[in-house]
């Protein structure tokens, strides 16, 4: 704990990351209490106050049907975070398990699993997600599925490399000698030694998952209106630039803050956990 604080103190950027993410998470969790107009997250129309530049009580302005941008951004954060967490919660166990098996068992198993992984890795992530979304109905759940499908191979590759090197460690041989099963060696001996790297990557990735999900909805393939989403808000507002600048700038900044924050936090975590790059 002391060491953690010392690292944060010696590296102001890490502290900034922690603060930004704390802000984002607090906004998302307590959205119902913080948002000045909670009902604006849905299909509300208020043509008296439409398309207003930032002013009290609409600090980020209002959109084309008069909804408060600030409230909508807060609720969009909530959806982005849920999406990021769910995607990683599914993609990481799948990717990690495949990577462990490929790295530890070796032989044909390794060859087949890693070639399949390579196929996924060879397709640009956004293109893969887009083509999946093109086939599926554009909903939040399908968005999660598409992003998950493109995310697990990165964990497979990471854990595969770690497992390959951990496999040569003496304690793996020692465990095999006293008769530990393959499952025990993989999950109880090798996996705990990979946890710091996995955690660091997960933190870094949360930002990127949010970015990809926003990109999808920017293209109209993600979360559908009236549910607030940062990506679709930017896409919507882009048509009215530069006059109604607040329609794009604030959601764009919100994406920037989340992605930047998770990156800084990931770097801080890497330092704290002593993970090599």
């Amino acid at each position: 704990m002391k060491r953690t604080l010392a690292i944060l103190a010696s590296n102001p950027l890490s502290a900034v990351g922690v603060l930004l993410i704390a802000l984002v998470v607090l906004l998302a969790v307590f959205a119902d209490f913080i948002a000045p107009f909670p009902e604006h997250r849905g299909a509300v129309v208020d043509f008296v106050n439409f398309n207003k530049p930032p002013q009290w009580p609409y600090i980020f302005g209002t959109d084309l049907v008069g909804r408060d941008m600030f409230s909508r951004i807060i609720y969009a954060y909530r959806i982005s975070l849920i999406l990021g967490v769910v995607v990683l919660a599914i993609a990481v166990p799948i990717g990690v398990t495949i990577g462990l098996v490929a790295g530890y068992v070796g032989g044909w198993t390794e060859y087949v699993l890693m070639r399949i992984t390579d196929v996924f890795l060879s397709i640009p992530p956004l293109v893969l997600a887009m083509s999946m979304m093109g086939l599926l109905e554009p909903t939040l759940t399908n968005g999660m599925i598409a992003v998950t499908a493109m995310w697990w191979p990165w964990y497979t590759r990471l854990v595969y490399n770690l497992a390959r090197s951990e496999k040569e460690e003496g304690y793996v041989l020692a465990a095999e000698v006293i008769g530990a099963s393959k499952l025990h060696v993989m999950f109880r001996e090798i996996l705990p030694n990979c946890v710091p790297s996995i955690l660091t990557k997960m933190t870094l990735d949360l930002g990127f998952v949010i970015l990809i999900a926003s990109s999808l909805s920017f293209l109209g393939l993600g979360v559908q209106p009236p549910t607030p989403d940062l990506g679709s808000m930017v896409a919507e507002g882009a048509k009215y630039l530069p006059d109604s600048w607040w329609l794009t700038v604030f959601p764009g900044l919100a994406i920037l803050i989340a992605v930047f924050g998770f990156n800084l936090l990931g770097d801080a975590l890497r330092e704290i956990l002593g993970v090599e790059q």
């Binding site: 003496g170 304690y171 041989l173 020692a174 000698v177 006293i178 008769g179 705990p192 030694n193 946890v195």
Partner: protein, 296 residues
């Protein structure tokens, strides 16, 4: 006479490579009686460690390995045993100690947790408290003065010598009848190595454990072993009691090996030939050291 703890007859090992079979062991025969300490000495790549892995059954699962010959453990044919039965022997009747004690312990678990895993091999339902109590007693046996502190530590918090003792205690925890020591302590400094070897010798004598001691260090072998096999390029070249072999090395390779030790008196690094036809001379067996069953 009871069956020897370990009997290996005409063990051959080859690996299938791109250019055909590469033979690594050319028919090794050796035996270890109950409670006997036997050393297998040879240079790097002579086949010492693969022999150990074959005994434990770790190499058999490799697709490229071709193994033939007889392997008997306490009178039972290891190769005829089912996988499950053979698996049960590991960690209970057979155990092993490695070169580098610190890397042989998983850095993410405390010593007590790792001890627990070892004890579970013998008594699957053993509880944590019971395991800790047993472990503490065993650590006391290897002259660790504060067993509780060591049990609560992670391997990287302990010195190499401490870890080596922990490894010895773990290896002997389930009272195996055969302990394979693969160059134990080579990664430690000389004084620590000497202490832990003495400890290990006392313990195996007390528990009447048979030991296969694999080493390239002749000084250590002389102190530790009752009987010595010298191995060169996958063949046993000389076999005798430790005293016979060290007093009167008869095989040209054994003599070269002994001459290779730098003297503390400072006569410079000895000159020996890397390769010589003489090294391939046939097996020399000292008096009274034949293999059981009459095969030399």
């Amino acid at each position: 006479m009871t069956a020897p703890t370990l009997l290996i007859r005409d063990l051959r090992l080859s690996f299938k490579g791109y250019s055909g079979l590469v033979e690594v062991l050319h028919g090794i025969s050796l035996h270890i009686d109950k409670g006997e300490r036997v050393a297998l000495v040879g240079e790097s790549g002579s086949g010492k460690s693969v022999t150990a892995r074959i005994i434990l059954g770790l190499l058999q699962s490799m697709r490229t390995a071709r193994i033939s010959g007889a392997l008997n453990f306490e009178g039972r044919d290891l190769e005829a045993m089912g996988r499950g039965e053979r698996h049960r022997l590991r960690g209970t009747k057979m155990s092993m100690i490695f070169q580098d004690p610190t890397s042989s312990l998983n850095p993410v678990y405390r010593i007590s947790e790792q001890f627990h895993e070892v004890l579970k091999r013998m008594v699957p339902g053993i509880g944590r408290a019971e395991a800790d109590r047993k472990a503490a007693a065993m650590l006391a046996d290897v002259s660790i003065t504060e067993p509780e502190r060591v049990l609560a530590s992670y391997p990287f918090q302990l010195s190499g010598g401490m870890n080596q003792r922990v490894m010895i205690a773990m290896a002997l925890a389930n009272e195996p009848s055969l302990l394979i020591a693969d160059e134990p302590g080579t990664a430690l400094d000389v004084t620590v190595q000497a202490q832990t070897l003495k400890l290990m010798r006392d313990l195996v004598t007390r528990h009447n454990t048979a030991v296969l001691f694999i080493s390239h260090n002749l000084g250590v072998v002389r102190e530790f072993a009752d009987r010595v096999y010298v191995i060169y390029k996958g063949r046993i070249v000389e076999h005798g009691k430790a005293t016979q072999l060290f007093d009167n090395p008869r095989h040209p390779y054994t003599r070269a090996l002994m001459n290779a030790i730098p003297r503390i008196t400072g006569e410079g690094i000895p000159e020996i030939q890397d390769n010589s036809d003489e090294y391939l001379a046939p097996l020399v067996v000292h008096e009274g050291c034949g293999e059981p069953g009459g095969v030399a």
